[in-house]
């Protein structure tokens, strides 16, 4: 059974390529308050590596990532 994580906003970046998922994630996170969670979906394989580096660099937490069909789903908590 999947563990459900609550989220405050959802961002669909499916079918977008580099660097748009990173840019849109940044914009979406900037609109959240500290502690809030963004759920986002991406299909760009490069983004799986990018989101790790982006999170580490910006101090936001990648809580969870999972595969849902052809899309990767990420839960990112704002620092």
């Amino acid at each position: 059974m999947k563990e459900e994580i609550g989220f405050d906003d959802y961002l669909d970046c499916r079918n977008l390529t580099c660097p748009m998922p990173v840019l849109k994630t940044r914009n979406a996170i900037s609109k959240l308050s500290s502690g809030q969670v963004l759920k986002m979906a991406a299909t760009d394989p490069g983004f799986i590596a990018d989101i790790d580096y982006w999170s580490a660099r910006t101090g936001n937490s990648l809580l969870k990532s999972e595969l849902d069909g052809s899309a990767h789903i990420f839960f990112i908590q704002k620092n």
């Binding site: 079918n15 977008l16 390529t17 580099c18 660097p19 748009m20 990173v22 840019l23 994630t25 940044r26 760009d44 580096y53 982006w54 660099r57 910006t58």
Partner: protein
């Protein structure tokens, strides 16, 4: 000027080519760096300078680009995967071939989910920590005026860029 802002990384880019294909690297890297909280400056010089114009009209030319794939962005999958081997005598001499190639590349990029240069540039403009610097000398040589460029850019010379680059963590010439 010194990089006294703690752990913030800095990227210094020179953009010297204004074709559609070569317009991508500086705007992709700058916007991605900005999204990571880096400070960025792009120095637009020589043929890169028109990328600051309010009306972007970057195009691409297959002439002198033997590695450029020529593929169609429409039709069945098998048709789309054909790499058309266009002889130089056609690509270099047929009038309008560059505008065909430019349109094909734009359509292909759009279909593959690649942002347009305009979108990426707008992202860069929105981020406060990204400076867009136009080269004064290039303006004089090619007869550009500041009002042709986006309002958010500044004008400077080699010393302006070098002072920024001296305290940068990454410097790239594109």
């Amino acid at each position: 000027m010194s990089n006294t802002n703690g752990g913030t990384k800095r990227l210094a880019l020179i953009s010297s080519r204004g074709t559609l294909d070569w317009a991508y690297p500086p705007f992709i890297l700058a916007s991605a760096a900005g999204a990571m909280g880096w400070e960025v400056a792009i120095f637009f010089t020589f043929y890169g300078l028109p990328l600051l114009k309010k009306d972007l009209d970057a195009s691409v030319t297959p002439a002198g680009n033997p590695a450029m794939p020529m593929k169609m962005p429409f039709g069945p999958e098998g048709f789309q995967s054909i790499n058309w081997n266009i002889p130089n005598v056609i690509s270099n001499n047929v009038p309008g071939f560059d505008s065909i190639a430019t349109n094909l590349m734009k359509q292909t990029f759009k279909k593959k989910g690649v942002a347009s240069i305009e979108e990426l540039r707008d992202m860069c403009i929105e981020m406060d920590d990204i400076r867009l610097i136009g080269c004064q000398m290039t303006m004089d040589v090619f007869g550009f005026t500041k009002d042709e460029f986006v309002d958010e850019c500044e004008i400077g010379g080699a010393a302006t860029f070098l002072e920024y680059a001296a305290d940068s963590d990454v410097s790239l010439f594109v």
